[in-house]
Subunit: 406 residues, 2 copies
């Protein structure tokens, strides 16, 4: 099943750099898709540190369970990703499949299975043919190339309408380091359970514990601030691999320029995921300020971003701020309607518990006709703030998700 | 804006009885709709007790604020309901409008304003012309009829595709009493903020405190178990009026046959609301058992019923149980995938953390092609259970909500 490319898609992938110590190879297994790569093997040089953030869904994929187990070692030598089958809810058989993948990759690249990270996305509940994946890995190990990140970005997508990648550079104690990332996903869960995956690669030397701190913080301000349909997938996986080839002194703190740029990279990729939201015609940025605290502001922002009525109103280019007020009110955190301000595109439409008198709706409607829609809410209680991204809710979402799995 | 009648609509309204002590009159104000009644006045004989349950939305309508203020008196003589304008988020002007309605109705029927309950549904944030409503009330007071409940059911609808009513009878200490109710709503919030309203009338004599206990319990098992789009309206109002004309000894306890039948009445009306969900093609009953407790089971049931991916799968008649497993997992309560059972139409499709082997999907698909879809989940942890109702998510929802307010 393929869908028209999102009108919010970037014109082209950025130029993807070589990240010293990282190599890629891809293959077509034909397990679910035809005539497209659906299997990625990435290999990392020794001493590559790793950090990871995973779905909070209690019914999580078997690959997520595996990654959580091996993550505390903080070391990675390989990554195996397949597209089309999520390997979720398969019991002991599902765990065995992941182990089979890890052992085959370990043998192919020469490391321990516990240094092999695995991610799968696609349909939930179907048996994953791990033997078939394993049969491709020895050949892929012989084809690993440092300059194949573009192929990697294409190999991990499922129902995405465009591949997603981003690059940042930053100087760490006089040494420029590179951060590059690829992501896939067109919904927290997309049709047939395609899922958000993001893999970040850097040549910086970063201690695993510091990398984990920075990645968790960055995820909280990027991927965890994106919602397409409020459905949390079983397989969301964010991994960052640091090869240490740049020659910088090891980064041991969870803050600083590297942490800032890592967050920028995550936000860049997260917004690309929102732009590829199922049926998306508009990117919606919801900013909330004046909350009791950041957590409260985020709860309100997510309540707005998850409201089907707000999202359909934006799809209809309707300055229906009453629906935004409704979504603020239902968020379950203290709000004072009389202190509430709601703005579209920076133009206040409601203030102090009532509509803005004699509002000229023309500029508001003009803003809503664009591809980038901004909803700003001032709660008027404290200094808490939050920003989240979503997309509008259109017929495309129903088309994509109402169709049969097969 | 009118939409095709829901295929789930009952063939006809039930025969609505006269409830001794209750009279109705309706009018066409032309404020928003043309050629249809949009204003209801109901009058109650002296000594009518009242109970009410209202929206939990922190941004609530001005009529809700008023009803909450006067409810503790436990007495009602009149009810005024208009359709098309919700009188929400209008500041002091909105409160003054409600007071104007209450004073005009009080003068017309001869009671205190604090004995007049008011409900409004329609667009949020627009000025309500209370003078125009008040101008109709004296004439309506002269036209009150005991046998006009059918007209009342039609006057309160907004974007509903069919009027909703139900009748029950029960014997209380040897005396048969009648309970009848009318409701409107095609979403927790429907297009243009149409909202769930339900008004129940009985000739039983019930102490206000007991009536309030029984109504809150019944609401928790009926209206609060319905979701169409997860959006909680600003104006939801459930009121029960008991005239005491049946001659039964006063009901003073919150339980017993009357409480049971009151709950049945509420469930009947609540299911009718779900059946008129925006774009609904199928009624979905989600039953969860084996939860840690009832609250936990309800959280899981609502997570399933609110999942856009589950609802679109049902719309597509797709036995996509993986999406149900996802919704269970994201509910935020403890679950053990290995103990989870998922069934469609009573046929288990997943059990013990995996798909049911060699499942014949034919009978499952046949069930999903029907109008009434049952999703049963056994969590396998405790004895908590819950049952909620929703509808499928179709193009009709986008059509209705993506169109402009005017």
């Amino acid at each position: 099943m393929s869908h028209p490319i999102s009108p919010l898609a970037p014109e082209r992938l950025p130029d993807l750099p070589v990240v010293a110590g990282v190599r890629f190879a891809t293959a077509e297994t034909g397990m679910r898709y035809r005539d497209r790569p659906d299997l990625l093997l990435a290999a990392f040089d020794p001493d590559t540190s790793v950090a990871g953030v995973f779905t909070q869904n209690a019914v999580c994929g078997h690959p997520v369970t595996w990654c959580r187990q091996i993550l505390p070692r903080g070391r990675a030598r390989a990554l195996v990703v397949n597209a089309g089958n999520a390997n979720v809810f398969r019991g002991a058989e599902g765990d065995a499949a992941v182990r089979r993948e890890a052992e085959a990759a370990a043998a192919a690249v020469g490391c321990e299975p516990q240094e092999v990270f695995v991610a799968s996305t696609g349909v939930i509940g179907q048996r994953l043919d791990a033997d078939r994946i394993a049969s491709h890995l020895p050949r892929l190990a012989g084809q690993l190339q440092p300059d194949a990140m573009v192929a990697a970005a294409h190999a991990i997508v499922t129902t995405d309408t465009f591949p997603k990648a981003a690059v940042k550079r930053v100087t760490v104690d006089g040494q420029e380091v590179t951060l590059a990332g690829i992501a896939k996903g067109s919904g927290m869960i997309a049709p047939n359970m395609a899922t958000m995956l993001a893999f970040l690669f850097t040549d910086a030397r970063v201690e695993a514990a510091a990398l984990q701190d920075m990645l968790q913080t960055a995820a909280g301000r990027s991927f965890n601030c994106v919602t397409v349909d409020s459905d949390t997938s079983t397989s969301d996986t964010l991994l960052c691999f640091a090869t240490g080839k740049a020659g910088n002194g090891p980064i041991t703190a969870g803050s600083g320029p590297f942490a800032r740029v890592l967050e920028e990279l995550c936000i860049d990729l997260a917004i690309q995921v929102a732009k590829d939201g199922e049926g998306a015609q508009k990117l919606i940025t919801v900013s909330v300020s004046g909350g009791d605290d950041d957590r409260s502001a985020r709860t309100i922002a997510m309540s707005i971003a998850n409201s089907p009525l707000v999202k359909t109103a934006i799809a209809g280019e309707d300055a229906n701020w009453g629906r935004v007020a409704m979504a603020v009110g239902k968020a379950g955190v203290p709000v004072d309607p009389a202190a509430l301000t709601i703005a579209f595109g920076g133009i206040a439409v409601a203030r102090d518990g009532g509509a803005v008198a004699d509002l000229d709706e023309a500029p508001v409607t003009a803003h809503l006709k664009g591809r980038d829609v901004a909803i700003d809410v001032v709660v008027g209680r404290g200094s808490g703030k939050a920003r989240v991204w979503t997309c509008d809710l259109t017929h495309g979402y129903i088309d994509i998700n109402g169709s049969y799995r097969s």
